[in-house]
Symmetry: C2
Subunit: 250 residues, 2 copies
């Protein structure tokens, strides 16, 4: 039934492994190679990984992953857009991934191939993700009083010389307000971001009014709180989990 979708070979000799990889690649399948290998990488940085057992995944979009038995992040990789090639050198399977811009190359040399599989995938479903900063923004626009009593949003992604502001609006007194949103606890970087926007907008609007800055996030670190104070910026706490559990705005 699914035999044409999957092919698996255990302990292939190098030439058989090369053929399986080349076949799978040509058929736009995902190819996995499990075996003992060394990995060399050269590009934005350079690396060498000595011999060990790893799982190598080749995707038809040019992605190449080298996974060890630990970590979420691959120990070596090539991003989408690379060209894969499988050859036999010195009686060893060698898988190469090359891309340009930036110029990068990864070479995986197998001392032993324990398994090669080719997996023909059909997948057109997109991920539906909830709880991002964009979702938080929408909830706050639906109920601006959560930011501040009387706050009126006027624009999102408003452009300033320092970049785009998450939410731009006016407070109860009609003074301009810049709101920077974060979906999780923030450190000094977010304060710097907000301060850049406030400073830029202050200059843009010149002396019409003083621009206020509000950082909206679940919480802030001590250092961030000190920086907020130093720059005369405000902080408003929001619980993003509340929006996750109760997406309806009453």
């Amino acid at each position: 039934m699914t035999a044409d979708r999957v092919s698996a070979r255990t302990d292939p000799d190098p030439e058989a492994a090369r053929e399986a990889v080349a076949d799978g690649t040509a058929r736009e399948a995902v190819v996995t190679v499990f075996g003992r290998c060394e990995v060399e990488y050269d590009g934005r940085a350079s690396s060498y990984l000595g011999p060990g057992d790893r799982l190598v995944v080749l995707k038809p979009d040019g992605t190449l992953l080298v996974h060890t038995e630990e970590q979420r992040t691959p120990v070596n990789w090539q991003p989408p857009g690379s060209e894969h090639e499988a050859t036999v050198e010195d009686d060893s399977l060698v898988v190469t991934g090359v891309r340009e811009s930036p110029d990068e190359r990864i070479v995986v040399r197998f001392a032993d191939v324990h398994q090669v599989s080719t997996l023909a995938m059909a997948d057109e479903r997109d991920l539906e993700l909830v709880g991002t900063e964009a979702d938080l923004k929408q909830h706050l626009l639906d109920d601006p009083d959560r930011i501040e009593e009387g706050f009126r949003p006027l624009a999102t992604e408003r452009e300033t010389p320092a970049g785009a502001v998450d939410i731009y609006g006016e407070d109860a007194d009609g003074d301009p307000v810049v709101v920077e949103l974060k979906r999780r606890r923030v450190g000094p970087d977010a304060v710097g971001q907000l301060d850049r926007y406030v400073t830029a907008l202050d200059r843009d609007l010149h002396a019409d009014a003083t621009v206020r800055g509000i950082l909206v996030a679940p919480s802030v670190t001590d250092r961030a709180a000190a920086l907020l104070d130093e720059h005369g910026l405000s902080f408003v706490s929001v619980d993003p989990a509340a929006d996750l559990d109760a997406p309806r705005a009453e």
Copy 2:
């Protein structure tokens, strides 16, 4: 020879698949499951991924990856430290990954399992990576004139109320200098970082001398350059590739 290291089953029924996954997990092997599945995730955010073919990887450290035929980043995942479980519900294989702190859960429900493999890995080799910011720092400490004629480094990771400074030293006039390093082209964020250090150190040393700030990187964006100017900070260009190609300092 390596038959005990690899086990592969094609088109297993749900119970056989569950057993294979449970077996591999118990033996601390890496387990791959290829099949048509739905994925639900709930934790820091929430997501739903409709039916499609994906490659699921379970690592003995608790990592769980769900890969589609595209992208370097898994469409869904669980970081190391999760607990894996395989069950059969409604005649379907269900793989669950749960972790605490943060409280997160991923559920992969298979409509069809095309292949299950268990891969016993032996890997004690660490990655040797060259071309990081730490490498760049070492090269600059070996030849401080690359930063500025007469610059003398006094400390690395010097602590300030705003965080640790990459390189702290004195210029030819004996005035204090803060150096912030980046291994690639930088934007406004790095300028903010440098400015926080300079401001904090200026305050710390009070009126003894004016602290200078130097951003050392391959290049800067226009916005970053404007910010540097605005804050009276300097920029020095370095080519990290030069260090990569010629690690010997002349």
